[in-house]
């Protein structure tokens, strides 16, 4: 039976997923998934297409039915930020960047005008993701990368305790991807935000992630990033990570650090 609960924090893990199953239309999307996301860590979820990564995020958000247990040890109000994988905007959608970002930042309907305080808050958010001055642009004219930065800006305010990102770097150019990495690192380090991110970029995972979980309907590997990546080429190919030949895993290289922490 599904059980998604919040309990008082005791330090250590922020999120514990235990024996999670998701079934839809007679098909099993996730089975016996167990993992722990440590508070303040940047934890990457990797896996091939159809591995159930987005489904796992949906279960954590309580947006899909599941069996098992998800426990969050919130310290604050348990706010979750989300950068979703897909955000369909059709070509004629008359919603500007400031309209979109104001939707959750003022009570007044955005079609009746944007409050001055909301405008200031939105401008500061856009500056943080390198999109200053984009307030008046309709969402429909933004590039894929710009749209993802707007979604990132949306997820940062109010500051979440847990930030879920579903392939946030897709569509970003190199400079924007670097900026994203710096921002995420600063969020974890300086503001104590816990990040759970789906990524296919091996180099990025290596640079950023404290821990990673390899998912293919069930957990194939879980542990500190260097140890998981030391699991060998077969595992990396299974994950479907890009830039496979980018060099040896950083820190440890699979020598004496032992095998990845197998959960299943």
């Amino acid at each position: 039976m599904a059980d998604r609960e919040a309990v008082p924090a005791a330090g250590g893990p922020l999120l514990e997923v235990r024996d999670l199953w998701v079934r839809r239309g007679g098909e099993t999307l996730l089975e016996r998934v167990s993992l722990t996301v440590q508070r303040g860590a940047l934890h990457v979820l990797a896996g091939p297409n159809g591995a159930g990564k987005s489904t796992l995020l949906a279960a954590i958000l309580g947006q899909t039915a599941f069996e098992g247990r998800i426990t969050a040890h919130w310290r604050g109000d348990g706010r979750i930020g989300l950068v979703p994988q897909s955000f369909a905007v059709d070509r004629t959608l008359p919603v500007t960047v400031v309209d979109f970002l104001a939707l959750t930042r003022q009570r007044r309907p955005v079609c009746l005008g944007i409050a001055a305080a909301t405008r200031r808050r939105v401008a500061a958010l856009l500056a943080r993701v390198g999109l200053s001055g984009a307030e008046g642009k309709p969402l429909s004219v933004l590039s894929g990368g710009e749209l993802r930065r707007v979604l990132l800006a949306h997820s940062l305010d109010p500051l979440p305790e847990l930030l879920l990102l579903d392939e946030p770097a897709s569509g970003l150019d190199q400079a924007a991807a670097r900026r994203l990495e710096q921002l995420l690192a600063a969020l974890c380090r300086d503001e104590g935000v816990t990040v759970l991110m789906v990524s296919h970029d091996l180099a990025q995972v290596r640079r950023l992630a404290d821990r990673m979980t390899v998912l293919d309907r069930t957990v194939r590997a879980d542990g500190p990033t260097a140890e998981v990546l030391a699991g060998g080429q077969a595992l990396v190919e299974l994950v479907g990570l890009s830039a496979v030949g980018a060099g040896a895993p950083a820190g440890g290289g699979g020598g004496d650090s032992g095998a990845p922490e197998r959960v299943v």
Binding site: L61, G62, Q63, G81, L82, F87, L103, T104, P109, C111
Partner: protein, 296 residues
């Protein structure tokens, strides 16, 4: 009191300070109805299009025909068949939302099934209705007629308009976010089911109170076409809302004028005017886009 208001407006019309059409109380009533319907239907229309519910609205309009038949067969008066129409439209709207939320089938497929069901039932019942009523009496409800709008209809329209507007103001931001991205709306604490059912109820209310002027079969066009026209020009939500209302008002007022001069059903004239405005904005939008591309 209301009679003296009509008398005062007629005086102004005779003195040339208002269009001569306003000498007639039914024209004043029609115009007042348009003044309420334009923000109501125009305002709703921009959310209908944002939430991709144009086909849903069309199905509701067809359900009104069936509701009309049910109401008349149950003994409702021809000039106020609200109970049957509201009841059946509401049932259909909630049924469509309920099934849509529980089925993996695409929404347009499910709505197509409901459309077939309500239309089939409506046509069968209409045959029974025409045995008891002259078809021309039923026509005014199906296609809208200025002559049948009463002061009571106007009061109902104003009350419904205020109720819909109050709820829309309260829920607008959540509704728009839910239509853009249900997962983001969920994270922001928006209850997707509440938003979807509430919007279906508001849409049903607006369609039912608007049908006296526009007609049961055509009113759904006014919750789609104004926003479609506005989309050709608007860049942000404010312009989108204001243009939707402006198009609904121009179509309503223009349609009233056309309908009295050419003696055609009000609903047909209003929807025709709205459609012409859509194509005008389409052309204007394309022109503006071309100029924008040519500018260095």
């Amino acid at each position: 009191m209301i009679e003296s208001f009509y008398g005062w407006v007629a005086e102004l019309a005779r003195a040339g300070r208002l269009p001569s059409d306003f000498q007639y109380p039914f024209m004043v009533r029609g115009f007042l109805a348009v003044l309420v319907l334009a923000p109501l239907l125009g305002g709703l229309s921009h959310l209908v299009v944002a939430r991709r519910m144009a086909f849903f609205s069309a199905a509701l309009g067809q359900a009104a025909l069936t509701g009309l038949s049910i109401g008349l067969l149950l003994g409702e008066p021809l000039n106020a068949p609200y109970g049957g129409i509201f009841g059946f439209c509401l049932l259909s709207a909630l049924g469509m939302v309920y099934v849509k939320r529980r089925s993996a089938l695409p929404p347009d497929t499910l709505i197509g099934v409901f459309l077939a069901l309500t239309l089939g039932l409506g046509i069968c019942l209409l045959v029974a209705v025409t045995r008891r009523f002259n078809i021309h009496q039923v026509e005014s409800v199906m296609f809208g007629s200025l002559l049948t709008v009463t002061d009571g209809d106007l009061v109902l329209l104003a009350a419904a308009g205020l109720w819909v507007a109050a709820l829309l103001v309260r829920e607008y931001n959540g509704m728009l976010l839910d239509s853009l991205s249900p997962p983001l709306a969920g994270v922001a604490g928006v209850d997707s089911a509440w938003v979807e059912y509430l919007f279906a109820v508001l849409l049903t209310t607006a369609i039912v109170v608007g049908l006296k002027v526009i007609g049961a079969l055509l009113v759904e066009a006014l919750v789609v076409v104004p926003a479609a026209a506005a989309r050709n020009l608007a860049r942000g939500t404010r312009g989108y809302l204001l243009l939707s209302i402006a198009v609904a008002f121009l179509a309503g007022a223009g349609g009233l004028g056309i309908s009295t001069r050419l003696l055609v059903p009000t609903g047909g004239a209003v929807v025709l005017a709205a459609s012409l405005l859509f194509f005008a904005t389409l052309g204007f939008g394309a022109l503006r886009q071309r100029r924008g591309r040519q500018r260095p």
